[in-house]
């Protein structure tokens, strides 16, 4: 509850607002930008190898070669059947050229193109061997079926087939990276369009049916194995182009899925038939190496006839989830066991008299949903009129829901959750809920305790464990913030549940539920009439990110809801404002480069400042100073394109050295020839090697550079600034918006003065009057005074010297106005081995409270004037390697002089977005600490790289700290060695734009 103890001040930095705005605007815009058609053709160019209005090679007469003229082929290339046109490649020609040479045949089926490469046979032979071993030794599957499959697999050749996802010659010409150069021992075959699809039955027999447009795997299975189809949960579909996918096909797990194209093969083992998913995947992958003709002609057991014709059913759809009135995935008032996909963020607003709920929910893991909520109780005042006028009551709460078990064919999905944990507990509830899906219906049944179970329609089953569970104590009272474990699952309990129906019209969901709450026991005696415990609602999915809900609840009350949700893990903004990457060609330059232009282009491509370019023999070295941003590998690829374009022909290797404050931190080695090959033609084994790899850095920079930067000593920028106070007694949102000018003056290579001036332009701080109460030195709770005293502030101005102590140890010493409330001196030492998951650091600081004006004085800091403290922490960092989860543990002395520890756990996604939470417990008692009992919060870090249309640095750090108190408060140091040495991290330099294929770097 946000009561009299002071409002929550976000630790939002100057860039937060813009981050959010940019995030929203880009997220809204991204769908438009994500269109594959490029936004700009300012300098129209034709793709590689294309001349204007060129008439293609003349269409030659049909040629039929069974095998390429290959004198040294290790094994015979499989000869496809007569319905396939086979011709040998001319060694050195592209696949696109070969396709263009083929006779024009309207019956040709490019989707089924067979491109066979002998060097790929080794892996495929291993796959075949493993399948045969599995069939020989595994006795769970029926013996007859295993014998049939064994016979078929033995009969199938090891082809070396590689899939060609888009066998369109003209498209391949424009995408040389996908267009292989054919060798003498490659074989190619262009089949004719088959008219059938085949099912591999559970007996290991083939059932071939006419292809029917609109039909999915289940439709074919129903025709071939009607007696078994209801016991099939998943189908593996091998498409004619060699793609393999598997889909849920039962009513409980049905997924939106591809149709089976002509020439597809379907394998769907019945539940409990003894075929493991691993076997099914292996089988499908091996079958994908075959041509459809080969499969039909293989020496296999006699096929079976379909029992009926294929009748396309309605396309199957994914299960749809939506938020309940509380923002959690659920029905209306009640939650369900369903979860969003990891990476989703959701903002939800709902209104059901007398409550308005605004919730933010995050899904850091597939099985964990967590977030916070502000509930506006519209018929209760916040406090006395003198303090908060007519502002209505605001209640804060934190929710957690954990999936205990995923749904199976027979068992429902289970989840357990806690609502309003750690708050004043007005709405605190615990629940256990189960869900089972049946087609378009998703049924839920749960049991709730606390607010959710207040109707007591069932006796608490946990009472069997002891009488303690019979009663539930009152919430903690005005201080709140404790995790009230003593209340959990106690007192009255109630069953709740309902159903969601996904209408055929796709965008509509219908919900009905039985509510377990008793509205005659509302908190604050705010009782409401309830004519019926049945609630009804409709959700309209306006677009993939916005849901609108309307409901009729308690028999007499309307509900309105709006949900905005987005998958942050897939957030990306196309870089339409950046220069396009230079076209990569196999040739090398014949003239010497103008290095200043090369350096400029490297910076333009990467967004990173180039410090110097040097040459050592046939190796070109580039030093980057102060690399930032999230997607390093993408930038390295782009700068390599410039290096390859400009570097003399004899250069065979590029080395990029990443430095910070003049200290080498990490290196990337780029092998020029393999890198070029990778970019100008599709690679096959054994040429498929990684051309870019990370190495530990050298001790010194290269000497005798070809080009050296003449860096300006002084640099500045202008950025927007934002500060806010949310949920305080003076107003729900108090804010200050303005601009800030961060600047840097470089005194020497390793010593700089950095700082910022901030100017407020727009605010409503004239309403900000309340200063929170505190039992501790007021190191943070004088925030009102700091935020409102002066429109012009100097939040930071410090001199920092940084250095290296041996291979893996770094240090910094600094002094000045270290943050908005404290000035002083300090130092930090960090031990961070290169690419190690572990790091350890210590910082120590002696600081004094600054004045409220945040200028250069110390005298006007109210009761804190002259307050000094020695503060610092020992910090352990651990990159766990599990789902990109990082753990940080600080132990030490905090600003109020209290001793304790902070645990911070964050999960990063592949695009660099991080969701995390922290908690601090010090030797300050809950009573001394005040409301909240201990410091805690959640955060969301969104790299600007995923939001901006050009590559930049920085991170939008969105922090929710329910209450700002004095206990457990840390010094906000603007320069931390762990961040400065980020180039030594494997994880933090391995992120990639969402949707992009990961390239280069150490992590792929």
């Amino acid at each position: 509850m946000a009561n009299m103890a002071g409002g929550a001040v976000s630790r939002a930095t100057a860039r937060v607002l813009l981050g959010v705005l940019a995030c929203w605007s880009v997220a809204l815009h991204a769908e438009v930008l994500a269109l594959r058609l490029p936004a700009q053709l300012s300098t129209p160019e034709l793709p590689n190898q294309i001349s204007v209005a060129e008439v293609p090679n003349s269409i030659s007469a049909p040629q039929v070669f069974v095998q390429a003229p290959a004198p040294q082929v290790a094994a015979p290339v499989h000869s496809p059947q007569i319905s396939t046109n086979v011709s040998a490649p001319v060694p050195g020609e592209r696949l696109s050229d070969w396709l263009l040479r083929q006779p024009s045949d309207p019956r040709a089926y490019p989707t089924g193109l067979l491109w066979q490469v002998p060097s790929e046979r080794y892996a495929q032979a291993g796959l075949k061997r493993n399948l045969l071993i599995w069939l020989a030794v595994t006795e769970t599957a029926p013996a007859a079926a295993r014998a049939n499959l064994t016979r078929m697999i033995k009969a199938l050749p090891v082809t070396g087939r590689l899939p060609v996802p888009r066998a369109d010659a003209r498209w391949l010409q424009a995408h040389p990276k996908e267009d292989p150069v054919l060798q003498y021992n490659h074989a190619l075959a262009l089949p004719q369009l088959p008219r059938t699809v085949s099912v591999l039955t559970n007996e290991g027999k083939r059932c071939t049916l006419p292809h029917r447009t609109g039909s999915e795997a289940r439709d074919y299975l129903r025709a071939c194995e009607p007696g078994r189809v209801e016991r099939m949960d998943r189908a593996w579909v091998v498409q004619a182009d060699g793609a393999v996918r598997n889909f849920g096909i039962a009513r409980w797990n049905a997924q939106a899925q591809d149709e089976a194209a002509p020439g597809a093969l379907i394998w769907a083992p019945a539940r409990d038939a003894g075929w493991s998913p691993q076997f099914s995947t292996m089988l499908a992958e091996f079958l994908a190496t075959q041509g459809y003709d080969t499969l039909l002609a293989a020496d296999a057991p006699p096929g079976v006839e379909p029992v009926s014709a294929v009748m396309p059913d309605s396309p199957t759809r994914d299960a749809v989830i939506s938020a309940n009135d509380w923002g959690l995935i659920g029905l209306l008032q009640t939650p369900t066991a369903r979860m969003a996909k990891a990476g989703e963020a959701r903002f939800h607003y709902s209104r059901v008299h007398p409550y308005e709920r605004s919730s933010v929910l995050l899904q850091p893991l597939d099985w964990l949903e967590a977030g916070f909520r502000y509930t506006n109780i519209r018929n209760r005042l916040y406090g006395s009129a003198e303090l908060s006028g007519n502002q209505t009551y605001k209640d804060k709460s934190v929710d957690v829901k954990i999936r205990l078990m995923k749904e199976t064919a027979r068992l429902p999905q289970f989840a357990v959750g806690i609502t309003d944990v750690g708050g004043t507990g007005l709405f605190s509830s615990e629940y256990l809920v189960a869900n089972k899906r049946s087609g378009n219906f998703d049924w839920s049944l749960g049991m709730g305790w606390g607010y959710m179970g207040s109707s007591g329609n069932i006796s608490n089953p946990l009472s069997l464990l002891g009488k303690d569970f019979d009663t539930r104590a009152a919430p903690t009272g005005p201080s709140g913030g404790d995790v009230n474990t003593g209340l959990f699952f106690r007192g009255a309990a109630a069953l709740f549940g309902g159903v969601q129906y996904h209408s055929p019209s796709e965008k509509w969901l219908f919900k009905a539920e039985y509510d377990g709450n008793n509205y005659q026991r509302e908190p604050q005696t705010n009782n409401q009439a309830q004519r019926t415990p049945i609630n009804l609602g409709i959700v309209y999915q306006y677009n993939p990110g916005v849901d609108i809900a309307v409901g009729f609840q308690r028999g007499d009350t309307l509900m309105l809801g709006l949900t905005w949700h987005t998958p942050l893990d897939r957030m990306n903004a196309p870089k339409v404002s950046d220069m396009p990457t230079p076209r990569i060609v196999a040739g090398r330059p014949t003239t010497q480069p103008v290095w200043v232009a090369t350096a400029s282009d490297i910076s333009a491509m990467s967004g990173w400042p180039v410090r110097q370019i040097s040459r050592e023999g046939n190796v070109l070295e580039v030093v980057i100073d102060g690399a930032s941003g999230a997607h390093w590998n993408n930038r390295i690829e782009r700068m390599t394109a410039v290096l390859h374009r400009d570097a003399p022909a004899e250069i065979h290797k590029f080395i990029v050295i990443f430095a910070e404050q003049g200290i080498p931190m990490a290196e990337r080695v780029i092998l020029r020839e393999p890198w070029v090959k990778q970019n100008v033609q599709r690679q096959v084994m054994p040429d498929r090697i990684q051309p870019i790899f990370a190495t530990e850095p050298r001790a010194q920079f290269p000497t005798a550079p070809l080009w050296d930067r003449n860096e300006p000593r002084f640099a500045y920028s202008i950025v927007p600034s934002w500060q806010q106070n949310l949920g305080g007694p003076d107003g729900f949102l108090l804010f200050k918006a303005g601009v800030a000018a961060p600047a840097r003056l470089k005194l020497s290579e390793d010593t700089s003065i950095t700082g910022a001036v901030s100017l407020a332009l727009l605010d409503n701080f004239d309403k900000f009057k309340y200063t929170g109460f505190s039992n501790l030195p007021r190191v943070r709770t004088l925030q009102r005074e700091y935020m409102t005293t002066s429109p012009v502030t100097v939040p930071n101005l410090q001199v920092t010297h940084m250095g290296k102590l041996g291979g893996n140890q770094f240090y910094s010493v600094y002094g000045g106005y270290l943050e908005s409330m404290f000035a002083g001196v300090g130092g930090e030492w960090l031990y961070r081995p290169w690419h190690s998951p572990f790091a350890f650091g210590i910082d120590a600081n002696l600081v004094q409270q600054r004045n409220f004006q945040q200028d250069f004085g110390f005298k006007n800091a109210g009761s804190q004037t002259g307050y000094r403290v020695a503060t610092g922490h020992a910090t352990a960092y651990w990159d766990t390697g599990w789902k990109s989860t990082q753990v940080k543990l600080n132990v030490g002395r905090y600003l109020a002089g209290d001793m304790g520890a902070t645990l911070d756990i964050g999960r990063s996604f592949n695009n660099g977005v991080t969701m995390g939470a922290w908690a601090t417990k010090t030797n300050v008692s809950s009573i001394q600490f005040g409301e909240g009992s201990f410091d805690k919060g959640i955060y969301l870090r969104i790299p600007f790289d995923v939001m901006t249309t050009s590559r930049g640095g920085g991170v939008a750090n969105l922090v929710y700290n329910p209450l700002t108190r004095d206990g457990g408060a840390r010094l906000n140091r603007s320069i931390a060695l762990y961040n400065t040495t980020i180039s030594r991290s494997r994880l933090d330099t391995g992120y990639a734009p969402a949707g992009a294929r990961a390239v280069g770097g150490p992590d792929e």
Binding site: P38, T213, P791, T949, G952
Partner: protein
């Protein structure tokens, strides 16, 4: 709490800073804001074109891009033009009608028309008050939707008020609409604007939706061509 006079001064300073931004002070954020407000392209129609290339002005979801002609390939039913975007997505047109795309979020991999007469015959039939019906079969990706068979009706229509045609008067052309009859996809009708050049009707402008949310409109560019 900031005094109003100061607030005004501050606003002026901020506006000055923004104007300075117009003078070249750019950051990823300012660039993103510009793109969000103005779109990624400043003015495609004002771009200087290479006289050696042939262009197609394509409108998609309110954005305009230019594509360049890469190949013209002979075909019994009319030459096939292959147009490229700068990122290598391609669009194939035959007689001004879309017959394939590659690289878009929804592709029509191949379109096979049967019983489709030439535009001259279509014009003649429509002059006689009859619509032209033909059968279209197409392959769509992603989703492996192969062999989608549609009955298409092609007929003359009045000048539409909402085309994406620019640079020339829509009224100077003869317009045709192409509707799919009785199928579930529910795609909006395709439209074509034709002009008679050297005695042959030629498509100057076309519209085709590949899916419910991906519709393309194209016209030869510059418009005078």
């Amino acid at each position: 709490m900031i005094h109003h006079r100061f607030r005004l001064l501050s606003l002026c300073l901020a506006l000055t800073a923004l104007f300075l931004g117009g003078c070249g002070y750019t950051t990823p954020i300012t660039q993103t804001v510009r793109v969000a407000i103005r779109g990624p392209v400043q003015d495609v129609d004002a771009l200087k074109l290479n006289p050696d290339l042939r262009y197609l002005r394509v409108t998609v979801r309110g954005r305009v891009v230019l594509m360049v002609l890469g190949y013209v390939e002979p075909h019994a039913e009319g030459e096939i033009q292959t147009w490229y975007s700068s990122e290598g997505e391609l669009m194939r047109l035959q007689n001004g009608r879309l017959v394939a795309t590659a690289g878009l979020e929804t592709d029509w991999r191949a379109v096979r028309n049967s019983s489709l007469p030439a535009w001259k015959e279509v014009s003649r039939q429509n002059a006689a008050g009859a619509a032209t019906d033909y059968r279209r079969e197409r392959d769509e990706m992603p989703g492996y939707r192969f062999g989608i068979v549609e009955s298409v009706s092609l007929y003359a229509v009045a000048v539409p008020p909402n085309s994406k045609l620019v640079g020339v008067r829509a009224g100077d052309f003869r317009w045709f609409e192409e509707a799919v009859r009785g199928q579930a996809d529910g795609l909006p009708s395709a439209r074509y604007a034709l002009r008679v050049i050297d005695g042959e009707p030629r498509v100057i402008y076309g519209e085709q939706c590949l899916s419910l949310d991906l519709c393309l409109a194209w016209q030869t560019w510059p418009a005078a061509q």
